[in-house]
């Protein structure tokens, strides 16, 4: 079994699976049970400043999107940061850390954007023995209206400033948690980097309304007939998170900055994908909230098995393996030519590929009277839509045309050299450059 021990921004944990700051890490009772179940680390539910804690709504706080068989695909919440007194949280953190020295325990913090506030809380967090802090600049609801959370995360200057204060008043690793509710994730990441952050973590939740009750005309979750936007998470947000992780990983300005990948990690495979795109570890919230703490056992076993199968010796070895393959569209090889191919033995003759291609693509699939579906190579532009709508995995595949074979669509032989848009004759700037 591959050793999953992970060192992230100087913090060691027995595996790369941390629980993200959220209800699963809200209190000592949960965190102890999470550690018993096998989680490598936890980011404690976000702490606020000293004084009366925030209050949550007393009605429903979640909205959801389901797939087949009510599989939870996306969850949205309007929960705030911890609603328990700071003192209680700190005492509990200290006790848990003492009992689980090998696990990572990170304090998530959100206090007003004033130096004094940070200066006040950081020494108290340090006393707990926590391994580091995570600055919650992500929460899109409730706290942002108070000038915290994503209100800070959306302004790179604030991120840099607060990160600097933290580096000044705290001597263990500082992780900056980023909000996805911005246009270009690289700017806040660069700001964190410039402020001296030891790592970034992302994504926090995406601003969202999951559904509207068409009888009461209230957004869900409904509080006395009204709803407000919440933060979206779970499997549905994974593609957004993967892209943002990759954007930061391949940005030369933040090169080498450790990334904790968050957003929809539900299985070992999701985790492996985050790692491959440049994350040093992952954080999980919704999967634990859906299936309980035990899911980590599948994640750890699956990742370890996959690493064994591939011969990877450590998590660090996997980190960033796919990053170099993330590029801009203009650099994609236009001489790479494929055609859809239907495996007639696997085909169940549902005709979905036909409907999709005929109605919305390139009219490149023929249907015979006996429902045999075949690709017309002379029409197929290799868009891949048929593969995606086919209910049978592996039935339709994309065949790469070897060099020299004539593409029946263009009548031209396949070239073996690489040529992208920047070099294409149809590109006005390409010609101008010559």
């Amino acid at each position: 079994m591959a050793d999953l021990t992970t060192e992230f921004a100087g913090i060691t944990s027995p595996n790369p699976f941390w629980l993200a700051s959220a209800p699963p890490t809200d209190k000592e009772y949960n965190v102890r049970r999470a550690f018993e179940a096998g989680w490598g680390g936890v980011v404690w539910k976000t702490l606020g400043a000293e004084g009366p804690p925030v209050v949550n709504v007393n009605g429903p706080r979640y909205g959801a999107v389901w797939g087949a068989d009510r599989r939870l695909l996306g969850l949205n919440n309007i929960e705030l940061i911890t609603d328990r007194p700071l003192e209680t949280n700190l005492e509990e953190m200290a006790r848990v850390k003492a009992d689980y020295p090998d696990r990572a325990l990170i304090a998530s913090i959100m206090v007003p954007c004033e130096e004094a506030a940070w200066k006040a809380i950081l020494p108290r967090v340090a006393e707990t023995g926590a391994d580091g802090i995570e600055l919650n600049f992500g929460c899109p609801h409730g706290m942002s209206e108070r000038g915290m959370g994503s209100a800070v995360g959306q302004v790179p200057e604030y991120i840099e400033m607060v990160t600097r204060w933290c580096k000044e008043y705290y001597d263990k690793p500082v992780i900056v948690k980023l909000t996805p509710n911005i246009t270009d994730i690289r700017y806040p990441a660069r700001a964190a980097h410039n402020g001296g952050a030891d790592a970034v973590s992302l994504i926090n939740t995406v601003s969202s309304i999951t559904s509207v009750n068409l009888d009461t005309m209230s957004p869900e979750p409904s509080i006395d007939g009204k709803g407000s936007h919440g933060g979206y998470c779970g499997p549905a947000v994974k593609p957004i998170a993967l892209n943002m992780v990759a954007e930061i990983a391949r940005d030369p300005e933040t090169a080498g900055l450790p990334i904790s990948g968050i957003g929809g990690v539900t299985t070992w495979r999701d985790a492996a994908e985050f790692l491959a795109l440049g994350a040093g570890n992952v954080q999980v919230c919704t999967a634990a909230m859906t299936y309980g703490f035990k899911v980590v056992q599948e994640m750890a076993a699956g990742l370890s098995q996959w690493m064994d199968d591939k011969g990877y010796k450590s998590v660090a070895e996997v980190t960033g393996l796919a990053t170099p393959n993330v590029t801009d569209w203009q650099y994609l090889n236009l001489n790479f030519i494929t055609k859809a191919e239907i495996d007639q033995d696997a085909c169940i003759k549902c005709g979905r590929c036909y409907a999709a291609c005929e109605d919305t693509s390139h009219q490149a699939i023929a249907m015979s009277a006996d429902r045999t579906f075949t690709v017309k190579d002379e029409e197929c532009v290799a868009c891949n839509l048929c593969v995606n709508v086919c209910p049978v995995e592996g039935c339709i595949t994309m065949r790469e045309l070897p060099t020299g074979e004539t593409d029946p669509r263009t009548g031209k032989p396949v070239q073996d050299d690489y040529a992208n848009w920047t070099m294409h004759p149809n590109n006005p700037s390409a010609q101008a450059a010559e």
């Binding site: 087949a68 068989d69 009510r70 169940i348 003759k349 549902c350 005709g351 979905r352 036909y354 409907a355 249907m367 429902r371 209910p391 049978v392």
Partner: protein, 444 residues
């Protein structure tokens, strides 16, 4: 003391009230909303879907299933009922394993089709439970049509004509409308008096008058009907039954299966229905299976179905044969009855084995006997009471296209007419298509 399955002879009350209740409850209980969502989600929404083509009424199955998926079972029901006004009954009685579900791409691929019939029931039940009638009648045309026979064919035709604004009088010889929906279909397929509830719901369209107890040939005559109505649709089903033609067929406890089934369907109290300890059913179709299974469910100790040809020639589907077997019915194939044994009442039956030869079925000469105190004949129904003057095709009323007979302004459909399988859904399709043709002809 109460009778049991061991009591000799043909006696009632072999079971406890609970057993009667359990045995005759819904064979395929309705889906709840979650089950329906899961089942609906399995549909691939095929292009030009094979199931649609296989359905004799061409229901847009992928569309109605998608409507269930998106939480609109009543809209799904409309999609169904637009094509098949008896979609509720069909959902319960169609041999879907030989129709829509047989060609479902998931049946072909995985041997587990989308459960179309049960989904159809989920949708139609939802609409009927909501009350009201989903279709509106066109302005009255003043045209009057007589329909003889209030089974599926007659009802379907009546509804479609009424919807187009015509006035319909629906005559039936029996005391209740519904045809075999009411008197034939196995009790456990259509519980809670569904046949009558469906007729009442169908009548919600307006413009249809039902006159029961009126038999063509006795109380009504085709000539008179043709004289007083603008068109006539004949949907009299197959009222006759085929005989075995063996000496002693009138012996006590030798009976037509359809009579037994009809008695059972009409019984308020199943414990009053007498059934043998050793029951034999002759035949290989749906009627034979239903008679055999229901005998078993009434508490007979041994029930044997005997069919003259091989199993693959039985018209009862494999699914139905399996159902019979699962209820403990023994199926013997390749044998014909040759002699009844017993003085006052039936005691045993002698059979001869048969074999298929190039010249047809031949008896081999080898015999065997089955102990039997009751025998049901289910070797087919036949046309009975067709009015004079109509051309026949084989033993049915000859029709061309959408049910046109050899007489002007007279249409026919359902089991009594040539062409098509003898199924509820086929009768519905033929009734509907004849109605459209009648409408087109009357409105030129």
């Amino acid at each position: 003391m109460r009778n049991s399955h061991l009591t000799p002879g043909v006696v009632p009350g072999r079971l406890s009230p609970d057993d009667y209740h359990d045995n005759f409850s819904d064979k395929a209980p309705p889906f709840d909303a979650h089950e329906a969502a899961v089942a609906a989600d399995r549909c691939y929404f095929c292009h030009d879907a094979p199931c649609m083509t296989a359905c004799p009424t061409t229901i847009d199955i992928p569309l109605f299933i998608r409507e269930i998926q998106t939480g609109q079972p009543k809209a799904a029901a409309r999609t169904i009922l637009e094509q098949n006004i008896l979609g509720g009954m069909c959902a319960r009685v169609c041999p879907t394993e030989q129709l829509c579900e047989e060609v479902c791409v998931r049946e072909v691929a995985e041997g587990k089709p989308v459960e179309i019939g049960r989904l159809q029931r989920f949708a139609t039940d939802a609409l009927m439970a909501a009350g009201g009638h989903p279709f509106a009648r066109a302005p009255e045309t003043g045209k009057r049509i007589a329909i003889v026979g209030a089974g599926p064919a007659g009802l379907s035709c009546a509804h479609r004509l009424a919807m187009h604004g015509h006035d319909v009088v629906l005559y039936d010889a029996r005391a209740k409308p519904g045809g075999l929906n009411e008197y034939g279909i196995a009790a456990y397929k259509t519980v809670n008096d569904f046949a009558q509830a469906e007729v009442a719901w169908l009548m919600g369209i307006g413009g249809i008058t039902i006159e029961t107890g009126k038999a063509l040939g006795r109380d009504l005559h085709l000539d008179t009907l043709r004289g007083t109505f603008d068109a006539v649709f004949l949907a009299i089903g197959l009222a006759g039954v085929n005989a075995l033609r063996i000496d002693g067929e009138e012996t006590t406890h030798i009976r037509d299966a359809v009579d037994f089934i009809s008695e059972l369907r009409q019984a308020g109290d199943l414990s009053k229905i007498a059934v043998g300890r050793d029951v034999v059913v002759i035949g290989g179709g749906m009627t034979a299976v239903d008679a055999a299974v229901q005998s078993k469910l009434l508490g007979a100790e041994h029930v044997t179905m005997v069919y003259r040809r091989g199993r693959e020639r039985m018209s009862a589907s494999e699914h139905e044969q399996d159902h019979a077997a699962s209820k403990g019915v023994r199926i013997i194939t390749g044998a014909v009855p040759v002699r009844f044994i017993g003085k006052d009442a039936l005691e045993a039956i002698e059979f001869r084995y048969t074999e298929e030869t190039p010249d047809g079925l031949r008896e081999t000469g080898q015999t065997f006997r089955l102990k039997a105190d009751q025998l049901f004949k289910a070797i087919g129904q036949s046309l009975d009471g067709a009015p004079q003057g109509l051309d026949l095709c084989g033993r049915k009323i000859a029709v061309t296209g959408p049910g046109r007979t050899s007489l002007p302004n007279v249409w026919a459909g359902g089991d009594c007419a040539s062409g098509g399988d003898d199924l509820t859904v086929t009768a519905v399709a033929e009734g509907r298509d004849a109605a459209e043709d009648i409408h087109a002809q009357l409105m030129v």
